[in-house]
Every structure is written in structure tokens, then in C-alpha cells.
Symmetry: C2
Subunit: 143 residues, 2 copies
């Protein structure tokens, strides 16, 4: 069985990994309940229609969380420790949009640290969020 | 009725706002379902006990999302547009921990932008996450 992670030594600058998900209305409402962010831009359609965005939008913090799914589940995977995240919210994400988060290894740093460039696209290929993620990568192969 | 936001002009450097929430096990499981991050550190107690953290931990991206609740609901509140977020995950947050996110206005920038310093503490006063948030503040009083 393949290991469910890659180690620091195996990681190479330029490696890519991604995850895609359609963000549903129910995701947005559950996220509002979890966080307490019931801003009308997220949960009040008539009010949101009068806003800059013309409709309800997904919480930026919900969309940007998809980076964690790649890091924890796919690459580097099991054993990864998330250290730092930065994001710029470029364009609105609407409920029903399918967001792809794509990570590219930008730098291998000392003491097991790996920096990723992170871009989030919607189903039209529009970049909606961009940022970086710094992790402590797994060090030893699974025994 | 008081306005449910403060405008750029009313905001002063040094202003503070905060929000506290006990992050439950159910929050963590719902968040795993929303994002797809089922890393064993979050949802597998025996495996997590063998980790550095000795128990399941809250997703960093869940805990850091509480900043959005302050920005969207309390200060500056309605009409705020979240532009940029950066966070460093300093210490683990465990299910059952009560996290307080405290925002302090660090800078008023041109074109309605406001930079906040953001610190997250657990119930013991330990800083668990720190970072910044940049927003576009509401500009006009409600009519």
C-alpha cells in the first residue's frame, strides 16, 4: 500500500497537488452556524442582491480552508503540521461554484519546512483567492 | 437603533473588538465534512494520541475563521469586505477549548482599507494563533 504522505526529502520544488469541491449552500449555512458569521452577504439573499456582489457569497474563510484538505489528506498528507497561511480574496465565490485549490511547492526551507504557493480557481478558471502556506512536512517514511 | 457597523471615518487606530466561542467536537466534525479534511489529527482519537498533540485538535482553518465573525458581525460589521488574512498557528486548539479572537486596529490605509492585528487565545490565556486582517471598511452611515 502506498504511504499516505510524502516526506520532506521526497518533496521537490515545483511539485503540485490540488483538490476541487462544489461549495454548496448547505456548506455556507453550516459554516455560518459553526463560526457565528451570519453577515447578510452570506445568508440574506434580498440584502445580498443589493450589495456589490448581487447575490449571497461564500465566506472567504470557508473557501480558503480547502488548502487544509490538500495539506492534510493529499500532499504532503498524514503527519503534516500547518504553520502559517496567508490569503488574498480576489473575487467572490458563490454558493454552487466549484473551487479548485492548487498548491505548488515554492521553497524547501530548513528544519523540515516547506512553502507552497496556493491559488484557488472557480469553474470558469477565474482566480478567486491566492496565497501561501507554510508547513512542517512529514520526515520519516511510515513503518 | 444603533447602526450595525462602524464606518471608516469612525474607526480609530487602537480600537478593539473580540468574539469568544467554545469550539465543540461537533464543530470539528462538521468542518471536516464541509472541507473534506479528515486528517487523523482531527478525527481519529487513538491515532491523534500517538501524535505530537496527544489528542485530536481543531483544524487551524476552523479556529482562524472566527476573525470573520468579528469583522462581519461586530466591527466594522455590515458592509465590510474582507481583503487579506494572514495567520500563524502557534499552539494546538483542542475540541472543547474556548477561543477568543481579539482584533486591534493597527493602521488606517488609503481607499477605505483598515489593517487589524489579530490574536487568538484559549481559555488559559495562551495565544494559539496570531495574524493580521485587511478589510475594506463600510464608508457611509446607514440611511
Amino acid at each position: 500500500m502506498a504511504a499516505d504522505f510524502v516526506t520532506y526529502d521526497e518533496i521537490q520544488v515545483g511539485d503540485k497537488a490540488s483538490f476541487s469541491k462544489t461549495i454548496s449552500e448547505s456548506d455556507v449555512y453550516l459554516f455560518a452556524g459553526i463560526t457565528g458569521d451570519f453577515n447578510e452577504l452570506h445568508v440574506n439573499q434580498p440584502a445580498a442582491e443589493k450589495s456589490l456582489f448581487k447575490s449571497r457569497v461564500v465566506h472567504g474563510c470557508l473557501a480558503d480552508s480547502l488548502v487544509s484538505t490538500v495539506l492534510g489528506m493529499k500532499y504532503p498528507g498524514k503527519g503534516t503540521i500547518f504553520l502559517e497561511k496567508s490569503v488574498s480574496y480576489l473575487k467572490p465565490v458563490y454558493p454552487g461554484d466549484t473551487v479548485t485549490v492548487e498548491l505548488t511547492v515554492a521553497e524547501k526551507r530548513e528544519r523540515g519546512r516547506v512553502l507552497f504557493d496556493v491559488s484557488y480557481y472557480n469553474q470558469d478558471g477565474t482566480e478567486v483567492i491566492k496565497g501561501t502556506a507554510l508547513v512542517l512536512a512529514p520526515r520519516k517514511p511510515e513503518e
